[in-house]
Symmetry: C2
Subunit: 384 residues, 2 copies
């Protein structure tokens, strides 16, 4: 078979030059190249371009974001950029070639955030290692569909089950993890690196083995774009409604819990349930945890779009939640987040009613880098 | 919450112009646009470009592939191309901007084939509908890890379970579906549209509900690039070995069957097992089905890299397979495939030993368009 394999491989390479498929075509340059000193070199072969820049979220040593840094053209028409030494992180970037923002054709690792696609790379050594696939036991990730009588439709959901779940007889706790506006049931897996974070924290003994259930929080959408009937529509911040919602996502959340608790071997008690989300999903977590009676022992609000504290019903629900008690109410926000003041105001009200919470303030703003950090810090505090 | 949502959405849009994340940035043009007459219009805003072409697998009405068709620049600097009326199909394309091959920045549907990324779109109405997500019951898709004692490692696998599997008590048949050189356990899902094809054929009553198990056929690789330890290496036709294989993939295949049959509610008999693959995976299916004793009632070779019929052991194994009997041995190949003659030679030998097979010859060559067609035709013949 070896000879035949080489024949096939050679023929496939030959095909790449043909009109038929992109199969096997090779990148002309190496990009990204992670250097030994933890800088990154990016390259693009574009002999005819007049100007090529990098748009990325790399940090200069003093923490200033670098946007639209010019690349330098070498004699062969390859444009190159080498970053400063970077902190261990997951970074993203595009190239901008004569004004057109593109993905790096040499880097197959492409992530989508709402309607934007960009490349990613990881600088290891510290935090980046938590976001990397390491040689540890891996959980399973299932994309499946649950019935939502409240929203009168089937809806898609992503379920992470930790390594060992299939062979165990134990009941597992569940973290419900909710995305923000413009996101969907894919976002926490792709942008949030949830399975890598959980695999690594569990393998290190830092987090308890748990299920993570990643829902679609757009009540008018049954699934991520491309995964719902109605064609491969381009995504938008409004969640691409493909059905007219019969209720709010929060009102339908009991359907999610019911699905999980009747299909998975999980702890069906408050002590085995956590809910957390970012931005709109932080608002969802806030609303669901205060309106579902005594259901969650752990709540995480990440850069949350929460509040509405001029409303007496909201106030009363928070007081009831306080009186019922819980183990952890964790609020995290970046100090440049546009929701920062809103979160401070919410906590001021909580202080006034002696609602116990833990506040984690970070730098930066409303970005996935923060939300990955928050998940990495929140998960280890759960179910202990 | 509505007011707050709008606030969040507006703020996120504002962020898109900032340095922080690509979150929420909107495409400048609509592309692709499927027109009412089933042509497609593609657009790229590139005011400074000198030449923009489309590289795609669109068919002109007479079936000639169109490659590197020039786009036309309008006064606003938007380049546009409208195809001829297209047959119902899944198509792929890139733009080539002044010599740089890129993905369409307005189209988030991006597929990877080995090291190439390109955009896809679907023209519905006929075959394209089988590859689309429709309003039918959907199966679940799980990425999980199985133990391979033969290869001395854990390995990643994709498992499709049909709609209704979770709630049923029935035992289901299993199709093992293998990729080609340069592919991995993702390929049949992304390029092959397996879950859409199975969802639709099952919903139409054309295929029996079955599991589809999509393995990683590169013995030296534990998982697709980016899903295995060792970093986000760029893929290659050689399967990016990250372990030194202790055996061939074919030799290890018993580990896959054992995993499936001890973890899923499946029929553990020959009549409930099918194996099929494309190119290298067709070779694997050929080798596995003739060397595993009386294990498969259904075999599919799609553009298979099979043969080796000058070898007496291979001849004897085929004769044994013939004598054991099976329900279907289906060979499909395109008449411009570089393995076409090889498949003809193999069938000539099979004729000489009265090895019963069904031959399906198609047009075109060694391309995913054919493999999707073959799967769509093969699946309905199984387990009946």
């Amino acid at each position: 078979m070896k000879k035949l394999f080489l024949l096939v491989a050679a023929a496939c390479f030959a095909f790449s030059a043909s009109a038929q498929e992109a199969l096997g075509s090779r990148a002309q340059v190496v990009s990204p190249q992670i250097n030994e000193n933890n800088s990154v070199t990016l390259r693009l072969a574009a002999p005819e371009a007049k100007k090529v820049t990098v748009a990325g979220n790399f940090l200069t040593p003093d923490g200033t974001p670098v946007e639209n840094t010019e690349m330098v053209r070498n004699a062969d028409g390859v444009w190159e950029y080498t970053s400063p030494v970077l902190r261990s992180e997951l970074y993203n970037y595009n190239f901008v070639v004569d004004g057109v923002r593109i993905c790096d054709p040499s880097n197959v690792f492409i992530c989508r955030d709402v309607a934007s696609s960009f490349n990613i790379f990881i600088i290891g050594g510290d935090r980046g290692d938590i976001y990397s696939v390491n040689d540890v036991p891996h959980g399973s990730v299932t994309k499946t569909w649950y019935d939502s009588p409240t929203l009168q439709t089937k809806r898609r959901v992503t379920v992470y089950t930790p390594a060992g779940y299939e062979k165990s007889n134990a009941e597992y706790p569940v973290l419900y993890l909710l995305h923000g506006a413009g996101g969907d049931e894919e976002a926490w897996m792709t942008l949030g690196r949830t399975s890598q974070i959980l695999d690594n924290l569990i393998a290190q003994g830092k987090a308890k083995p748990m299920l993570v259930v990643m829902t679609n929080g757009n009540a008018g959408q049954t699934a991520a774009v491309g995964e719902a009937a109605g064609g491969m529509i381009q995504p938008s911040m409004r969640g691409n409604a493909n059905v007219r919602p019969a209720a709010s996502f929060e009102q339908s959340f009991g359907d999610v819990i019911k699905f999980v608790e009747s299909n998975y071997r999980v702890i069906k008690k408050k002590e085995g349930r956590a809910i957390a989300g970012l931005s709109m999903g932080g608002g969802h977590s806030y609303n669901i945890s205060r309106t579902y009676p005594n259901t969650f022992d752990y709540v995480g609000l990440f850069s949350a779009a929460a509040g509405n504290l001029d409303n007496e019903e909201v106030q009363n629900s928070l007081k009831a939640q306080r009186d019922n008690g819980f183990k952890l109410y964790w609020i995290a926000c970046g100090n440049t987040d546009f929701l920062y003041q809103r979160n401070l105001d919410m906590m001021k009200y909580m202080d006034s009613i002696k609602f116990p919470y833990t506040y984690r303030e970070s730098g930066e703003g409303h970005i996935w880098r923060n939300w990955r950090i928050y998940l990495s810090e929140f998960a280890p505090m759960l179910f202990k």
